[in-house]
Symmetry: C2
Subunit: 82 residues, 2 copies
């Protein structure tokens, strides 16, 4: 079972990395970029029996910093690459 976890900063939390990327994109001549936010993607291969509750627990205990970050869990269909 493949699971993808997207961890992003909560709305309102300052994202200096995103600002730097935004600035760099403008420096490269890309206009029309309004906002950039950067987060993490964690892809896990899990044993088929793993419960959603366990995945949730992994996020809360280790993968996301619940003070400043939100997470979303997506199940990746078996056929999809990576």
């Amino acid at each position: 079972m493949k699971v993808r976890i997207l961890v992003r900063l909560k709305p309102g939390v300052l994202d200096p990395q995103g600002r730097a990327v935004h600035h760099a994109l403008e420096g490269l001549g890309f206009s029309g970029v309004d906002d950039v936010r950067i987060g993490r993607m964690i892809e896990m291969d899990l044993a088929d029996g793993t419960s959603d509750e366990d995945v949730d627990k992994m996020c809360r205990q280790l993968l996301a910093n619940m003070v400043i970050e939100d997470y979303a869990i997506e199940k990746v269909p078996a056929g999809e690459p990576a």
Copy 2:
């Protein structure tokens, strides 16, 4: 227009961060984790006229290191949060 870019290490490229997370999950008592790979998620608000080609160029020039990383571009439907 909201665009999400997922940047991940190419298959075969060593992922020490993923191994560390894998190890930490096992240390916390989560069994059944077979593999962990860590990547980046970049979420951008773009002007509506921005072409797919431009987004592709941003990835190649700045957002992904094409030597060791692959990227995927996803358009986020307007209604979806974050």
